[in-house]
Symmetry: C2
Subunit: 677 residues, 2 copies
């Protein structure tokens, strides 16, 4: 219905709508429906509630906003443009979905500082939001002092039907309710439409009541298209609830304003088309050219700049006084915000000699965590209900629970995927936490999408994955990793570290912690997966922290050019050591290489790599109690990779290892075969 | 509390408990707590309600039982032994968790016919159960006739807190409620304990109410330890509810009977220890030797044999009359139950010549599905809310919905992991359905655990995964698969097929359908993942269905020994074809190999494989728009694998392919480099 004159709010809201419509139309690709339907709630939220500084997306105490329904990216880009973020111009909007633009199809945090977290895969954003709200609760409890609320902000998420169907969001929201995260406010774009059509096809649960069973506070705004006041009241009411997260079901029409496509699946994921764009302009009374924002609306939106500058300035004044009174905490805030590690932090990492009792690398990991926790207050984490098995408990910290948010041990429950996504939130919150999480290595399968997003979004998460091979024994093939290390190595920009003993576990942590602070040290923050044993392993002569920081290194060598190189990782490196002894006693020149991390090795210069694995030495045997997939890279055409490419078996771990060929004898046999004997 | 004389029920229940306790104790490994706590409900269910024939675990119309809390496997093994399953002896129980025993740590369907589905990873079993209940509803609607209820059975699941925390179960249970699966009855072993300790640590949602929001019928049995009558009434009431699935929260004590460990996490996952075993024997008044079952109890339990024989015999009489009156349906039942494919079914698979218009392989896939659906009524499936994108709709079938169970198109909703686990249930139900499911290839990450279980449990599921590379374009790096094909290849016993054109897509379906019926044709049923394009691809000269059934084949060749072999998969095979033309015009002898499926290729005999990729021809170039991880296997030390090992970009698909090097020019350049020019 054409309106003669539009109110200022309508102008502001339609500005969002038409930037989205026009950008998608120009790209001939994208999702106009959500921006058109969610524009009113986004306006109320960003114009009236959110506390942020468009000129400083990294302001420590900003409210965080996540678009969990990431396909609606033009909504977010429009908001960033309208409110005056520096790095987003009209030209950027016109380059929506084009090569190397700042406006990719789904929001990517590394392309644009205004984007808190990369979203797109459904359900992730809301789970990230739970993590960000946990960060706020934790840091507020830890850092705030009387009259110094330096951490005091909300986490807002817009999510849709898809996010609510995904299991990862159920997991995270159940935990959020348990934790009583009162500063988390989720607006549910409740439009009853998904790609297949009406949600009546597959999704008829009572979402609002479900969230109540999690312990959330739930409200409904019946007309999210035009009842701005209702939206406003609901957000205010949600803010007033301090002991529960809040869900606001906002009933909207997808593609609102499009005469033919509104309220249908056709508004979801395709450009409206020239005719329908025209019809929508008529319907909403929008006479402006593509990408043209009426001056009144832009001026109103851009009040966010002064507002934000003022908010941040006030906070800085508060923080200055805080630093005077609490210099240690002040320094900590700054160090964390700068993602700096304290000088010599790694001195706490324990080292070992072969005389030290061999224990499982998961136990070494537990020791490392506890040592690091003492010098890095930013370390926070937990396990998906496997604390005793994963060795993740922090001796000096109680559990992070409602009313005890200052603690840093998190009980995630049996919710691996939610745990990973929450950790991405903890990492990308921007305050400087270093999160770790843990489960059995085989269950990385449950959380792979979150691990991948850690890598893609440069979230410095440390994934502690124990029980890393058939050596775990009796739990059997459903629990014994086979292809997991290989398949994780295939994920770009993820460190996969499989330490052989105590020194190497310390080395793994040195790498992982530095990678989590990557931007300062190597230009790229990376997550790491640590693959750790259930069973005890000996401490090896020659192992070192240093070696792990190079990815692969020579553990022991004969004089002169080796006849043969044995390459081991993790618990199998000891087999190489013993096999080398035997082969050397028979006159062979054998080099033993420990290779805890392929990715770090590949980052070393060519000279170093050649010094460890000289091209000319083609006789090679690798051994790893996992899939041989990919090992041809390091053993080559003339080498042999010893591994296991079938499912395991339920039996004691030692029996499994022996039956599947992980013995010194087998290494020696294969070595001789490679040598042509 | 020692009891002077035990009732017959108590004897039967304690028989379960002590078989579990003794087996775990002997193995010094395992989970005694759940069997001890869930024994009463298991007794009531198996002794009084379940309709099954211990001597014929494959009886078509049996009730199905799934232990979703798979770690409690001794509960299931005890039940199978006590009720008289043929293949489970006392000796097998004594070999619990030992090499190659029939009683592995978690129930494995391929080790024991009494085990319906492999469980262990939490949340899977209940989701499988949803699938099995869907199978029952579908086949009942499709096959039953007036007075001939040949499909009429219940699906029972025992699940625990862990299963209820997992997102996969939320997804499946939400769908189950939407579908109104009245024959699904889940007993929730509600013991408030998980590995970390009390569920108060992380899991305080109102589970019962949550299930009500899904549309389930929910009851509570307050004393699941001793109130057998209450359990009985609840199951009966659940059976009477025909339009909703039922959840019965049974409050139990984990490790019931163990004075020190009951109701603690120490009962969950470790042997009780000799002292505590003794104390438990005293507490429960059990004077029998390890593995000794009192005669009264065993006789009572074994009544299941006659009962079952009678039930099955009655059903067979019914079925015989059904076959007379409905011979066609009768034949269908038998054919499906035997996992036989009708003669010449594959004649419907379309074939193409290069003159036929090139379309996306996802579109070819849609055509194949529809063609196959006409001749295979057992085909059933759907998509996770991407029906138009995945091309999965069946033209001749409406949606499978409440009251319309005879239809075979399933609207899974945005629930990838639940979808995969449900399909495992559909496949392993045993009635002979062939399920397919679909989403974007990148979202195999969400459902990897279910895919792995398909492979491990020999579930013939067809995973249709579209939008398989950066060529999908503007949706960008969160949606563009990179490492997915490689990482899926790493999963043992899974076919990963990436067809190049129409003929190869038909070939992919021939392989996938036969693999789904594998036991009859090759001794091993396998799931398949089909990686399909978003974009159109030409039909290639020389491509064939037959070629795909060999995994890799020569698409075109020069005379004599090739100088160079170009290997392509999927959409990149056409680049090999064009590059070969160019190189041949320059006088090179070039062989083009299409390699749609590594795993099938590796199953061919050595002679065939050598004929396609002769060892002596070392100059090779492969090209696949995905990770190069693992390609060294086929290109060797002297070859080059063209791929992409970094994240993609949001831009039109053609731009992405060009920018990342997927061009004829690049293949030619790399070819010349390999040839040393």
């Amino acid at each position: 219905m054409a309106v003669a004159t539009q109110s200022l709010e309508e102008l502001c809201i339609n500005s969002i709508r038409f930037l989205a419509i026009d950008a998608v139309e120009k790209a001939k690709s994208g999702h106009p429906g959500l921006p058109m339907g969610a524009a009113p709630m986004a306006f109320v939220l960003w114009d009236r509630f959110m506390r942020f500084n468009p000129k400083n997306p990294a302001w420590f105490n900003r409210d965080r906003f996540l678009l969990s329904a990431g396909h609606g990216s033009m909504l977010l880009y429009a908001l960033l443009y309208l409110t005056g973020y520096e790095d987003l111009t009209l030209e950027d909007l016109k380059q929506f979905r084009q090569w190397e633009s700042k406006t990719p199809g789904h929001p990517e945090n590394f392309m644009n500082p205004g984007v808190e977290i990369t979203t797109g895969p459904l359900g992730q954003g809301i789970a990230n939001g739970v993590g960000i709200a946990m960060a706020e609760a934790h840091l507020a409890a830890k850092l705030n002092k009387p009259d110094f609320p330096i951490v005091d902000h909300y986490t807002y998420v817009i999510l849709g039907d898809g996010c609510n169907m995904e299991g990862v969001s159920s997991e995270a929201c159940s935990l959020a309710g348990h934790l009583g995260l009162g500063k988390l406010i989720a607006l549910y774009d409740d439009n009853h439409i998904s790609i297949d059509g009406s949600t009546d096809l597959a999704f008829t649960e009572d979402v609002g009541k479900r969230f109540e069973t999690y312990g959330w506070h739930v409200q409904v705004v019946e007309d999210g298209n035009t009842d701005l006041d209702g939206i406003h009241k609901a957000i205010a009411a949600a803010q007033a609830i301090t002991d529960k997260p809040s869900l606001i079901k906002v009933r909207t029409t997808i593609g609102y304003g499009s005469p033919k496509k509104a309220n249908t699946r056709h508004a979801h994921g395709e450009a409206l088309g020239a005719d329908e764009v025209k019809a929508t302009r008529e319907y909403l009374g929008w006479n402006h050219e593509p990408f043209e924002v009426p001056e009144d609306a832009l001026n109103h939106w851009r009040q966010a700049i002064d507002r934000g500058a003022k908010l941040e300035q006030e906070w800085h004044q508060l923080f200055e006084r805080y630093k005077e009174q609490y210099p240690e905490e002040g320094r900590l805030v700054e160090r964390m915000h700068e993602a700096e590690l304290p000088e010599g932090w790694d001195a706490v990492l324990p080292t070992y000699t072969p005389e030290d009792k061999g224990i499982a690398t998961r136990a070494h990991s537990g020791n490392c965590l506890n040592a690091i926790a003492e010098v890095l207050p930013e370390l926070i984490g937990g396990s998906a209900d496997l604390a005793p098995s994963n060795n993740t408990l922090l001796k000096t910290s109680g559990d992070f629970q409602k009313g005890q948010y200052e603690n840093r041990y998190i009980r995630f429950g049996v919710r691996e995927h939610g745990m990973g996504a929450i950790c991405n939130g903890l990492a990308l919150d921007g305050s400087g936490l270093i999160p770790y999480c843990a489960t059995f290595l085989v269950f990385t399968d449950y959380m792979r999408a979150a691990i991948r997003l850690s890598a893609l979004s440069e979230a410095g998460v440390i994934y502690i994955m124990t029980h890393d091979s058939i050596a775990l024994g009796e739990d059997g093939p459903t629990h014994q990793p086979i292809e997991h290390v290989a398949s994780l190595r295939a994920i770009p920009e993820l460190y996969v570290i499989r330490p052989a003993d105590g020194n190497e576990t310390s080395g793994a942590y040195k790498v992982a912690i530095k990678a989590a602070r990557g931007k300062r040290y190597s230009n790229k923050t990376r997550p790491s997966v640590l693959a750790l044993t259930r069973q005890a392993v000996p401490n090896l002569a020659g192992s070192s922290i240093e070696g792990v920081t190079k990815g692969a290194y020579i553990l022991s060598d004969s004089d002169g050019t080796p006849d043969l190189i044995l390459i081991g990782t993790g618990s199998e490196t000891q087999l190489c050591v013993k096999a080398a002894e035997q082969l050397r006693s028979e006159g062979k020149k054998v080099r033993v290489v420990s290779m805890p991390c392929w990715e770090v090795f590949e980052e070393q210069d060519a000279e170093y790599r050649e010094s460890v694995l000289p091209k000319a030495v083609k006789k090679r045997v690798s051994i790893e109690a996992g899939s041989t997939f990919g090992w041809c890279r390091y053993v080559g055409d003339e080498g042999i990779a010893i591994g296991i490419d079938q499912y395991g078996s339920s039996a004691p771990g030692g029996v499994c290892m022996e039956k599947f060929g992980f013995t010194v004898d087998n290494v020696v046999t294969k070595a001789k075969a490679v040598l042509g004997e």
